[in-house]
Each structure stands twice: as C-alpha cells, then as structure tokens.
Amino acid sequence: MILVVTYSAAARTGLRNVCRRHEDHVVRRLGRAALLEATAYGAFLALRLRETHAADVQIEWTEPFNEFVRVDEDVRAAATAYANRETAATPYASFAAGTDHPAPDAMKRRPL
C-alpha cells in the first residue's frame, strides 16, 4: 500500500480532498495521513499531491506485516508472555531478566 503523510495545512487539505473524491482508492484515512491502494492510480494520486506540496508530502511504500516471516520466534513468544503477565507493574526488562526472553537492548540491536 502507499502511505501518504502530510506536513502542512494546505497539504493536509489536499489529502482530505483526494480521500473524499477517491474513496474507493483509500484503504484508510489517519488524520493527516492516508493509506492508498497499491495501484497505478493510487500512486498517481500520491505523486500529484507531492508535486503540488513538495516536501510537505511524504510517500512511503508499506506491506502487510507477517510476524511469522519477519520476526524470530523468541520475540513473538516474549510479546505474548509479557502481554499476559500477572503483575501489571513489572517493566519488561525485569520481566525478561533470568528468563529465555530476549533483553530489550538485544532486540533494539536486532534488525528485522
């Protein structure tokens, strides 16, 4: 999908108008950003906005996130275990200490 983020009032209005007029090409609207369909027409809409508003429009390419493809098993297990912990106040670092769960710093250094 195509992610369009706006950074000025004029660009935000432009995006809002595009979304209103081309609803069938908008996957989701998120305030001053929107996800457009990954079609040539979606790209056309995004590029047109950037042509008009230059650096006030950011366009990114996004993909569906599949944790079973992108993320190691230990990270998935840690997320599940921590979300279901019994003591709500425990920070993750303490929760992971002394277990097989990866330490936060180790995860921060591990690119996907």
Partner: protein, 297 residues
C-alpha cells in the same frame, strides 16, 4: 480612524522587513510578540491578514476587510469580532497570538528533495540486475564450453569482464543506497520541524477562533440594540450570544456594520442593496449607518 488605517498599512511591510532581517540573522523575531499596551503594536498582533504564513489561517477580524462588503461571506462571529475590533475592543489572546506567530515564523525547515537520490538508486539497482544476468549468462556459456571440450579463453574473458562490471555496479548501488539513506535522515529532521509548525498553526487557528468569539461576545448587547433600531430587525432573535442568533443573515450583517466604527464606504451587492431598499422607512446608508456604494463604483 483614517490616520490609524494608514499606520497599519505602513506597519505591515515593516513587520515583514523585521522578520526577514531576524531570520537572516538566524534568531527568532522578538519584536512583535511582546505584549505592549501600545495600540499600534496590538493592532499588528490582532489584525494579521498577511502576517501569518499559515495558508488556512483565517484573518482574525480586520474590520474593513470583513465588513467592507455585503454579503460578507463569513460568519456572524467574525462580523461581530470585526465590529468589536473597530470599536477598540481587544481580545485577551493578543499576546498569545503574537508569540504563536513568532514561533511559527521562526520555524524554517529545509526542503530536502529526495527525487535525485531515489532516481540514482533505481538506476544503479537496474544496472546491477542487468549485469548479474550477464554474469550468469557468461558463466553458463563457459560451463557449456567446458563440457563440450570447446575453446574457453574468450568465454572466460567475457565472464571476467562481466564480473568486474558487476562488482563496480554493486559499489555504485551501495553508494546510492547510502546517499538516499542520508538524504532520508535529513528529510526526517525537516519533517519534525514541519510537524511542529503545523501543530502551532493549528493552535493559532484555534486561538484565533477563541479570540473572535470573545470579541463577538463583547459587542453582543450593542448588536441586540442595533437589531432593535432596524425595521426588519428583531432583538428577540438575538438570544444570549452569537451562536443563538436566529434572525436573517442579512439583517445580522447590517446590524454588525451598525455596531462597527467604519470609515466606509461599504460596498453593497445589487441584490443586497435592493433588499435593504425594500425595508420601510430607511435607506441603505441609514440602515448601515455608513456610506454605501455599488460594486462597480
């Protein structure tokens, strides 16, 4: 009043020059956010049709602009705020509006164009793919020649050439990737600035609306009195505040002009002039309390 208007006209370019100078010097403009009791400074703070760079920031309420033409094309709030302003009322938001504008003006994000880095990376990646295919083909050719016992010198040379070209293309692609990455970092910093500016602009608009509401409320009793003096006006339609007004828009605008202190003249679209002429016992000039002219005058 006439003198004051001339001063305002002079004040505008001066304010702009101040800003340009201070931006060139790399410092935030401090001149027009200081809350001073001086009327002219307040004028600049509160009447900003060209002051802000926010594209959608509505001018708060310059009386001659808002009320100088009927229909006004704006809301009763804005009309009454302009009327209040013309009578010397000032909102309590003046200093905040001034410092918000100064903060917005001080943000000057660089424009990072990522088009060229993206184009170069796409070209380098395309070239790398093309050469990788050539290397694979040359390798296949060499293998086939070896298997059939054919002469391999030329095929080996072609493979070496292709492999060397591929290595060079890979270096170019990596450099292009790094260049794009650096440019993206710069763009990201610039976007932080743009995001901050947009938030301040939104807050400015919000405060401008609040300032207009406050000013409109200040003259609402006078507005109700003005309605009573108009043959078509109904003070009962005024309610408690601008949001309650239930009367005709035109009568509301006319009453707002009556409340205002304007140098005039007010431009009346023909349909408006005809409508007011149809009111009994008055004329456009008398109803509005100010000289009126046709749009072509």
């Amino acid at each position: 009043m006439a003198r004051r208007r001339d001063e305002r006209r002079d004040a505008e370019p001066k304010a702009r020059a101040d800003r340009t100078r201070s931006r060139a010097a790399g410092s935030a403009p401090a001149s027009h956010d200081a809350p001073t009791p001086d009327g002219e400074a307040r004028h600049r703070v509160d009447a900003p049709p060209t002051e802000t760079r926010a594209p959608t920031a509505a001018p708060i309420c310059d009386p001659a602009t808002v009320l100088g033409r009927l229909p006004t094309g704006t809301t009763l709030h804005t009309e009454l705020a302009a009327a209040a302003y013309s009578r010397g009322h000032r909102s309590s938001y003046g200093p905040e509006l001034g410092s918000l504008r100064a903060a917005i003006d001080a943000i000057d994000p660089v424009s990072v164009d990522l088009t060229e880095p993206r184009r170069r990376l796409a070209a380098a990646t395309g070239e790398e793919t093309r050469l990788a295919e050539r290397v694979a083909a040359a390798r296949g050719e060499l293998r086939a020649r070896r298997e059939t016992g054919a002469e391999t010198d030329a095929a080996r040379e072609a493979l070496d050439t292709a492999a060397a070209a591929l290595a060079a293309a890979q270096t170019t692609r990596i450099a292009a990737e790094q260049a794009l990455e650096r440019a993206r970092d710069r763009a990201s910093a610039s976007r932080d600035e743009r995001e901050r500016r947009l938030r301040l602009q939104d807050r400015l608009e919000n405060r401008q609306r609040a300032a207009r509401r406050e000013l409109a409320r200040a003259v609402y009793p006078a507005f109700r009195d003005a309605l009573a003096t108009l043959p078509t006006g109904d003070p009962g339609a005024a309610g408690d505040g601008p949001t309650d007004y239930a009367g005709s828009r035109l009568v509301g605008s006319v009453a707002a002009v009556r409340v205002a202190t304007l140098d005039g003249p007010v431009v009346l679209e023909p349909a408006v002039a005809d409508a007011i002429r149809a009111w009994s016992g008055t004329s456009p000039d008398r109803a509005l309390g100010v000289a009126t002219v046709r749009p072509d005058a």
